[in-house]
C-alpha cells in the first residue's frame, strides 16, 4: 500500500432537499411542518415580532426573559414543574428582528407541553417578585459581561456597524435599573399577544395535533406585514477600548454588506471562507498556525432581514494586537491582488460542498435550511444554485469580489483590551 498518495475521492454534485409542508395562516404568517422524522423527537419553534428593534433594549430583553414567569392562574414554579413532568425543555433567543422560542419534547408529550408553554407566553402577567429577581440577575450578568474584552469589542462593533440606526442602541446598567414592570406589560401586549409571525414544527405528530396547534395560535398571529431596516452603513476607522490588565485583546473588523438576496452573496460567502471561515483558511494558517498569536480567528457574514454585514473576530495576546491587524490587512490585500491557486480553490470548493451536505443531514437540519431561505421569500432552489456556483466560480471572480468588498479603509476596526 502506498500511504503517500491520498485515496480517490468522490465529488458531490447534487443534494436532495426535503421541504416542510407550508400552511398559510394569513398573508404574513405561515405554519411549517416537517412530518417525516424517524424517531420520537419533536421540536416547535415560535417566532414573535418582539425583537430589540421594537423597543428599548432593556425592556425588550427583560420581557423575553420573563415569558415563563407566571400568569394570573399559574406561578412560574408551576409552569416549570408541568413542563418537567412532560419531560419538555425550551430555549429563548432574542435578536434585533425577533424572538424565537423553541420547545423540545417527545411526540407523546408535545401537544400538552405546547399548551402549557403557549398559555404561559400569551397570559404572562409579569409578577412583581419575579420581575425584581430577573432585574437583579440581568444587572449582575451585565456587570460580569462588561469584564469580558469580547463583549466590550462586540458592543462597540455593533455601534459602528449599525451607525446611526436603532440597531446601534446599547443598554447600560442604568437602563436596566430604571425599567418598570408596566413597561414589560405594555410591550408584551403589543408584540406578543398579536405578534406571532411564524411557527415551525418538526416531528411525526398527528394531523389532529397540528389542527389543535393552529386553533391555539390563531388569535395571536400578526396582522400587519413585517418590514426590516434596509439601509445602514458602518462608520469606518480604527477604535480602541482600553481595559486595564487584560492579557488578551479582542478584535472585530467588519463592514456593512448584504444578505442572501444580493447577487454577490454566494461569491462573497466563498471568498469569506477562503479568508477565514474554516480551519485551513488564510487567517488561521497565518495568525494561528504560523505565528501562534491566537487560539482562533474567523470570518462570518451575518444576515439581517433587510441587509447584513461582514465580520472578522479574534482574541489575541495583548502584545500581538498591532502585528495581527497588519497581517489581517495584508491577507485582505493579497486576495485583492493575487489569484488564489487552483489547488486552494479546489480545496475550498470541496470543503464547502462537504459542509452543505452535513447541513442537510436529517429532518431538523432540513428544516433549518428551509427556514434560512424562507425568511427571504426564497426557496431551496437557492442551495442548488449555491452548489452550481461553487462548481463554476473561478479565481478571477474571487479576486474581483475581494476588490469590491475587502477594502481595509472601508472597515470598522475595533479592539478592546
Amino acid at each position: 500500500m502506498n500511504r503517500k498518495t491520498a485515496p480517490k475521492t468522490n465529488k458531490i454534485d447534487a443534494i436532495s432537499f426535503i421541504t416542510p409542508e407550508v400552511f398559510e395562516l394569513n398573508e404574513q404568517t405561515s405554519l411549517l411542518w416537517m412530518a417525516k422524522v424517524p424517531n420520537e423527537t419533536t421540536r416547535i419553534d415560535l417566532y414573535f415580532n418582539a425583537g430589540l428593534r421594537n423597543g428599548k433594549n432593556a425592556i425588550v430583553s427583560m420581557t423575553s426573559s420573563m415569558l415563563l414567569s407566571g400568569t394570573t392562574s399559574m406561578k412560574s414554579t408551576e409552569i416549570h414543574s408541568r413542563l418537567d413532568d412532560l419531560g419538555a425543555f425550551f430555549d429563548i433567543g432574542l435578536s434585533h428582528e425577533g424572538v424565537m422560542i423553541s420547545l423540545y419534547a417527545l411526540k407523546k408529550n408535545m401537544l400538552e407541553a405546547f399548551k402549557v408553554l403557549f398559555d404561559s407566553i400569551q397570559n404572562a402577567s409579569f409578577p412583581e417578585d419575579e420581575f425584581e429577581e430577573i432585574k437583579a440577575e440581568k444587572i449582575q450578568n451585565f456587570k460580569i459581561n462588561m469584564n469580558r474584552v469580547s463583549v466590550l469589542a462586540q458592543r462597540s462593533f455593533q455601534q459602528h456597524i449599525y451607525h446611526g440606526t436603532k440597531y446601534a442602541e446599547l443598554s447600560e446598567e442604568i437602563d436596566l435599573q430604571s425599567t418598570k414592570q408596566i413597561d414589560l406589560i405594555s410591550f408584551h401586549q403589543k408584540y406578543y399577544q398579536k405578534g406571532l409571525f411564524k411557527i415551525a414544527i418538526v416531528g411525526a405528530l398527528n394531523e389532529n395535533h397540528i389542527e389543535d396547534i393552529k386553533r391555539l395560535i390563531e388569535p395571536h398571529i400578526i396582522s400587519e406585514s413585517l418590514s426590516f431596516l434596509k439601509t445602514f452603513c458602518n462608520k469606518p476607522g480604527e477604535f480602541h477600548i482600553e481595559k486595564k490588565d487584560a492579557v488578551q485583546t479582542a478584535i472585530r473588523v467588519g463592514k456593512t454588506l448584504f444578505n442572501k438576496k444580493h447577487e454577490d452573496f454566494l461569491d462573497m460567502s466563498i471568498l469569506s471562507t477562503i479568508l477565514g471561515d474554516y480551519f485551513g483558511s488564510r487567517l488561521m494558517k497565518n495568525i494561528r498556525e504560523d505565528k501562534g498569536y491566537t487560539y482562533g480567528i474567523g470570518t462570518a457574514i451575518a444576515e439581517t432581514g433587510g441587509s447584513g454585514y461582514f465580520l472578522i473576530g479574534s482574541e489575541v495576546g495583548s502584545n500581538h494586537l498591532k502585528a495581527t491587524l497588519v497581517e489581517i490587512k495584508k491577507e485582505m490585500l493579497t486576495l485583492q491582488q493575487e489569484k488564489v491557486s487552483s489547488n486552494e480553490l479546489q480545496l475550498v470548493k470541496n470543503h464547502l460542498l462537504g459542509q452543505l451536505l452535513k447541513m442537510s443531514d436529517g429532518p431538523y437540519a432540513m428544516m433549518d435550511l428551509f427556514l434560512s431561505v424562507e425568511s427571504y421569500q426564497m426557496s431551496t432552489a437557492f442551495y442548488n444554485s449555491y452548489i452550481e456556483r461553487i462548481h463554476e466560480i473561478d479565481a478571477e471572480t474571487i479576486m474581483q469580489t475581494a476588490q469590491k468588498y475587502l477594502n481595509w479603509n472601508e472597515m470598522s476596526v475595533i479592539s478592546a483590551g
Binding site: H80, D84, A136, F279
Partner: protein, 412 residues
C-alpha cells in the same frame, strides 16, 4: 436502541461499527486512553498540547487538515483529565480519506520544531482566553488542588502552570507518542452510511499493519479519603461573590455516578430545581445557583456553585444551603419529582442521539468504560432510581468533612 458491531484487530485496536443508512455522512472517531491524569506532575498540560500537535503532520502526510478538507471533511479533538478524542466528519463516500489520515498519525508523527513552537504559543493563548482573561475563569485552577491532594485530578487539563507548556521539548513529545498512541491503547468507532464488509477491509488495510504496542498500565496515586472540611478564599476583580462547594463522589463505573448525576439535576440544573426555588426564588440569597458532577472516571466531584445576591454574605448562604441539604438527606424527593427528572433525561437522550457525532463519541466512551452497549443501558439505570437510593447517596456524600469550599470575594 443503537445497533453496533465490535471486534478487535490482531494488533489490539478495538473497532466499533455503527451503521446508519439515513445519513449522507460518516464519522470516524478515535479515542486514546490517555488524559491529563497520566501526566508527570512536573510536565502538566502535556496531553492537551499533544492533541494540538497531532494536526501538525504525520509520517506520510504533510498537512492533515488540507487533505481532509479536499475530501469535504472536517476534524476536531478534545482532551479531558481522563482521555483524548479525535474525530472526522466526512461525506460517507469519502470515508477512506479519513481512515488513511487517522491511521497514518497512529503509525508515526513527523512534525517540526517550528510546529512545536507555534502550538505551544497557541495553547498559551488558549490558556489566557479560557482561564485568565475571563471573569471567574481561573476557578478550576484553584479548586482542583483544593479538592484533590494526591490524585492527578489536582491539575486542570490545560496544565497547572504556563511554564510547563513553555518548557516542553521534542523528546517529551516523542516519548509521549510512543507510550500512549498505539493501537492497543485506542478505540476506533466508524459511524454512518457504509457497507460493512467494505469498511472492514478498509480498516484492515489501513490499520492492520500498525505495530500494536503495549497498553500502558495505569498506576495513579490514590486520593486518600477526605476527613476534614477544606476552605479557601481568594480575591478577584469580579462584580459578585461566588462559591463552589465540591464534594467527593464515586468513580464513573459506579452506580454512584448515575445517582450523583440525578441528584445534581434535581437540586440545581434548571429553574425548577430545588435550590433554585428555595435559595434563589424564595429567599433571594443568590443570583444563580447550579449543581453538577464532573463525571470523572476516577473519583469525581459533586459541585454546588453560584453567585451571591448583592448584600448577602457567605455565612447566610452557607447556613441556608446546609439546611436544604439536610432536608434532602432526610426526606429526598416526591415521586412526581423523580418521574419528571426521568422524563427529562429520556427527552434529552433522544435528542442527543439524533446526531451521528454524538452517537460515535458515546459509543467510544462507553467502550472505554468497558462496554459500548452501555449507551443502550443507561436510561434503564436512571429509570430504576428510587428515593431510597437518592437518600443513601446524599447521606454518604453531602457531609461537611467531605467538602472543599472555594470562595471568591469580589473587589470592593
Amino acid at each position: 436502541m443503537i445497533e453496533f458491531e465490535r471486534y478487535k484487530l490482531e494488533n489490539g485496536l478495538t473497532v466499533i461499527l455503527h451503521h446508519d443508512p439515513t445519513t449522507p455522512m460518516a464519522v470516524v472517531n478515535t479515542l486514546y486512553d490517555v488524559g491529563a491524569r497520566d501526566e508527570n506532575e512536573q510536565k502538566t498540560g502535556f496531553a492537551h498540547l499533544f492533541e494540538h500537535l497531532m494536526f501538525g503532520g504525520s509520517i506520510n502526510v504533510g498537512d492533515f487538515d488540507q487533505e481532509l478538507q479536499k475530501a469535504g471533511g472536517e476534524s476536531n479533538a478534545f482532551t479531558s483529565n481522563d482521555l483524548t478524542n479525535y474525530y472526522e466528519i466526512i461525506p460517507a463516500n469519502n470515508i477512506e480519506t479519513a481512515l488513511w489520515l487517522e491511521s497514518d498519525r497512529m503509525l508515526s508523527l513527523a512534525f517540526t520544531e517550528k510546529s512545536l513552537e507555534v502550538q505551544k504559543n497557541v495553547v498559551i493563548e488558549e490558556f489566557k482566553q479560557r482561564y485568565l482573561n475571563q471573569p471567574y475563569g481561573d476557578v478550576w485552577l484553584e479548586l482542583r488542588p483544593l479538592a484533590y491532594q494526591k490524585h492527578p485530578y489536582k491539575w486542570a487539563t490545560i496544565g497547572k502552570d504556563i511554564a510547563h507548556i513553555e518548557n516542553a521539548v521534542m523528546q517529551d513529545v516523542k516519548d509521549f507518542f510512543k507510550k500512549y498512541y498505539c493501537p492497543a491503547n485506542a478505540i476506533l468507532c466508524i459511524s454512518g452510511n457504509f457497507d460493512a464488509p467494505e469498511i472492514k477491509a478498509l480498516v484492515e488495510k489501513y490499520y492492520g499493519s500498525i505495530p500494536g504496542g503495549l497498553k500502558p498500565a495505569r498506576l495513579l496515586p490514590l486520593e486518600p479519603e477526605q476527613k476534614n472540611f477544606r476552605e479557601k478564599s481568594i480575591d478577584r476583580d469580579v462584580p459578585a461573590d461566588a462559591f463552589y462547594y465540591a464534594f467527593k463522589m464515586s468513580e464513573r463505573k459506579n452506580i454512584g455516578y448515575y445517582l450523583g448525576d440525578f441528584l445534581s439535576d434535581a437540586i440545581g440544573k434548571d429553574q425548577s430545581s430545588l435550590l433554585n426555588i428555595t435559595l434563589k426564588k424564595e429567599k433571594g440569597l443568590v443570583s444563580e445557583i447550579n449543581a453538577f458532577i464532573t463525571g470523572s472516571h476516577d473519583h469525581g466531584l459533586f459541585l454546588i456553585s453560584g453567585k451571591l445576591s448583592d448584600g448577602i454574605d457567605f455565612e447566610t448562604l452557607d447556613s441556608a444551603l446546609w439546611e436544604k441539604l439536610n432536608e434532602i438527606k432526610e426526606s429526598g424527593f416526591t415521586e412526581r419529582k423523580l418521574n419528571s427528572l426521568k422524563n427529562k433525561l429520556s427527552t434529552a437522550k433522544a435528542f442527543q442521539e439524533q446526531g451521528l457525532l454524538n452517537r460515535s463519541i458515546s459509543l467510544s466512551l462507553f467502550e472505554l468504560l468497558g462496554d459500548a452497549n452501555g449507551i443502550n443501558e443507561e436510561i434503564e439505570i436512571y429509570n430504576q432510581i428510587e428515593n431510597n437510593d437518592i437518600l443513601r447517596f446524599a447521606q454518604s456524600i453531602l457531609k461537611k468533612e467531605n467538602c472543599s469550599l472555594l470562595k471568591i470575594n469580589k473587589s470592593k
